[in-house]
């Protein structure tokens, strides 16, 4: 689900014109100043452009993927990940698994305090995990489904009892479920915690005005020494990307992220901007309803996978800024598998043959759901044309994300397929269970693809050993791709435009930017 594009209101012709016009304007901007590399400077308030209004600033009750970049600054997580590979690393806590059904979390400091001055200790961790697991307002209940009980061992240590081994848990605690909120604030504020977040992250909350901005200021008692560099952060909500980029080009704001590749030439041309790009887990893909005809036939689904010329897709829809997707993980991910990635080269002849074997020698019509913003429409056009070449007539119905995805995944079961995206998850087991487990919401047909897959999904959580998990994921990916339960198309690249004043910003593989290391040159 491309949840984090749902706020991007794109008015197509306007954008095109805008792109053309501001392009002309940008080229007239004189060259920026070159800064020498220096040690991080303390101070300054960064103005960051975010594409969407947060759904909530309480990590447990929010839902949109676009929230994270505003949540990371307010909340530190129990675990974190490596920016490039998403390998889990300690955050506020280190973890160990004395036995497969126990996870021990040990806080790395006894000096961690929330913004309201209360201690971020084992009691707070217990409170948070129990709230996330059971509170009626929690959206992350399913993430902590394996947790049975949380026991405080010492002020800096908790012991989590699990109903079954869950090797995905450390990664899950790097996301919403591991963002720690002040128990005192939650008890006092109730549902108001959505709008008055109190975390233990580097910046504390000042104000949030809907569709306008979120203001944060330095947490003076932040537990990491000499951090953060920035005195504060203003997150400005600008859904229109061209406008977002313009506001950075004019140096009114410092940084805009999650830009469409469409704006790369514009950003490149502006001499006063630094452009950062990097792969993300965000995968454009075709979802199949494989519980009914015609897509219940694996040969038809395989034919679709063979009919897509992925490098051409990246070129046509992302201006070459992206990575062809042959499975649901990009090549830089720790669980990427080369053999799986080789399953579907571009082979229209083979696709036609498979269609003939499936009983469609003269081709067939498949109904597609799609979205009506400019980038989505372009993707739909390219897919349509590629499928047409093998005899598949893709009949698209376009609409808003909420409307079309609801019709496809919800009870209506409209359309055979949906051209959308998957935003990616810190642990691959989350991606595969959310998308392909029997009864999962993002498995539109709700049917079980194969008992073997169900067993493997469980197995992937048995042991934490990376080599073991890599092997299990290879098998899962093999089944998913061999049976063609999905047609991955391309991974989105992060595109960030920042003024030269912004230093040490690095994109991450999750595609949800963190600003913890960023500082502003004077």
């Amino acid at each position: 689900m491309s949840e984090d594009t749902k706020d991007t209101i794109v008015i197509s012709r306007r954008d095109l014109l805008l792109a053309a016009l501001s392009g002309a304007a940008l080229s007239a901007v004189p060259g920026g100043l070159a800064h020498a590399q220096a040690a991080p400077r303390r101070g300054g308030v960064i103005r960051i452009v975010a594409p969407a209004n947060p759904s909530s600033l309480d990590p447990a009750t929010g839902g949109a993927g676009s929230d994270h970049s505003t949540l990371w600054p307010i909340y530190d997580t129990l675990t974190e990940w490596d920016y490039q590979t998403l390998k889990v690393v300690p955050g506020m806590a280190e973890w160990s698994t004395p036995d497969p059904q126990t996870l021990v979390l040990k806080l790395r400091s006894d000096k961690i305090v929330f913004h309201d001055g209360t201690p971020m200790d084992a009691e707070a961790v217990k409170f948070n995990l129990e709230r996330n697991r059971a509170d009626s307002r929690s959206n992350v209940k399913a993430d902590l489904g394996s947790v049975v009980s949380v026991e405080v061992v010492s002020p800096t240590e908790v012991r989590i009892k699990l109903s079954q081994p869950d090797a995905a848990l450390p990664a899950i605690l790097s996301d919403r479920a591991g963002m720690m909120i002040s128990p005192k604030a939650v008890k006092e504020l109730g549902a108001e915690s959505d709008r008055k977040p109190v975390g233990a992250g580097p910046w504390k909350f000042v104000s949030w005005t809907d569709n306008d901005k979120v203001v944060l200021t330095r947490h003076e008692k932040y537990w990491k020494p000499n951090r953060p560099y920035l005195d504060g952060m203003e997150v400005l909500i600008i859904p229109d990307q061209a406008t977002a980029l313009r506001s950075v080009t004019s140096e009114q704001n410092h940084l805009a992220y999650n830009l469409s590749p469409r704006y790369k030439p514009l950003a490149d041309r502006a001499k006063n901007l630094t452009v950062s790009t990097g792969p993300t887990l965000y995968c454009f893909q075709i979802y199949f309803n494989y519980s009914r005809a015609p897509l219940d036939n694996p040969k038809v689904r395989q034919a679709i996978n063979l009919a897509i010329d992925r490098p051409a897709f990246v070129k046509a829809t992302q201006g070459g800024l992206g990575e062809a997707a042959y499975m649901l993980l990009p090549s830089s991910h720790w669980a990427y598998d080369k053999q799986v990635a080789a399953l579907y080269p571009y082979d229209p002849a083979h696709a036609k043959k498979l269609l003939a074997e499936a009983g469609f020698p003269n081709g067939l019509e498949i109904s597609f759901g799609g979205y009506n913003d400019q980038d989505s429409v372009r993707r739909a056009e390219v897919v349509m044309e590629m499928l047409r070449k093998v005899g598949i007539n893709a009949k698209f119905t376009n609409g808003s994300i909420a409307e079309i995805s609801g019709q496809f995944f919800g009870n209506e079961k409209k359309f055979d397929a949906l051209l959308s995206a998957w935003t990616g998850r810190p642990d691959p087991s989350m991606t595969y269970s959310l998308g392909f487990a029997k009864g999962a919401y993002y498995n539109a047909g709700r049917s079980e693809a194969s008992p073997e897959l169900s067993a493997l999904l469980k197995e992937s959580r048995l042991k934490e050993d990376p080599e073991f998990r890599k092997a299990v994921f290879a098998k899962i990916q093999h089944i998913v791709m061999e049976q063609a339960l999905v047609a991955p198309l391309a991974f989105r690249y992060e595109l960030v435009a920042a003024t030269k004043q912004v230093k040490d910003f690095r994109p991450n593989l999750l595609g949800k930017p963190k600003f913890n290391d960023v500082w502003l040159a004077s």
Binding site: D7, S55, G63, G406
Partner: protein
Amino acid sequence: MATQARKWEFVWRRLLQTLPVIVFATFVVFALLKLVPGDIALTLAGDNATEQRIAEIRHLYGLDRPFLVQYGSWLWKAVHGDLSVSLLSGEPVLTSILRSLPNTLLIVAIALLLALLAGIPLGIGAASRPGSLLDRGLMTFASLGVAVPNFWLAMILVSMFALERNWFPTTGSVPLGENPYEALRHAVLPALALAAGGMAEVARQLRSSLAELLSSQQVRTLHAKGVRPAVILWKHGLKNVSVNLLTVIALLANRLLAATVVVEAVFAIPGMGSLIVHGAVHRDFPVVQGVVFTMVLIVIVINFTADALYRVVDPRVRS
């Protein structure tokens, strides 16, 4: 005394007439939001949605209640001054509106002012010599104003005056009470973009009614009596077309309010337009209802004011 009583009766009647309008407008919008596909529960359930969670959310937010019950409960609260909170973000709708409305009103007010300041002289200029080169030139110019889409003009203005020359900010807005100078500086470009169409409309309407009047028998008589052309134009002409002009202004003000939706997006102004677009896209019906409610009120106030002014400028309406 009789006139005084009539005046109040007029006011009361008008106010009573507005009630069904408000109920009808909010009901239609509510029905539309519910009829079109798309479910806010999906958005609220977020990225890790499960069917169970979606059902829970429907229940939690009362979205599983019958349609009329949902509308009724909204209306009941609204009547008691509670516009509910945004389903998406939890912000009280009244707070959002009170923050956004001044931003929108400022732009609309400046745009209206600019449209009148430019449109009235253009209209008079054209009408004073109907059919002349000046007339045709001015009217071609005005047609251009109508034809140019405001978002396009907005982008041209930004690239000329905000990106190339750093005269105005590219985006955003500042509350008038916080910093009047910055507030105006932020509002100039969006107001200009909005004003172009209005200017043209005022000019064209004024020209046509004025030209018609100036060729009437009444004016011919005035000429025959030897009244100077300037006096005819200013004293007799403008006075007579002022009713038409009032109508145009009221319509224009209402239309500008709607047109801000696009301009607000181009300039990233957190106004009523951004509010309603965001609300409508995600089916956040309390927000949409609140904005519609406010807009209907504003339009009613504008029309009411125009009606009241008719009575001032046109003695025939009074009797």
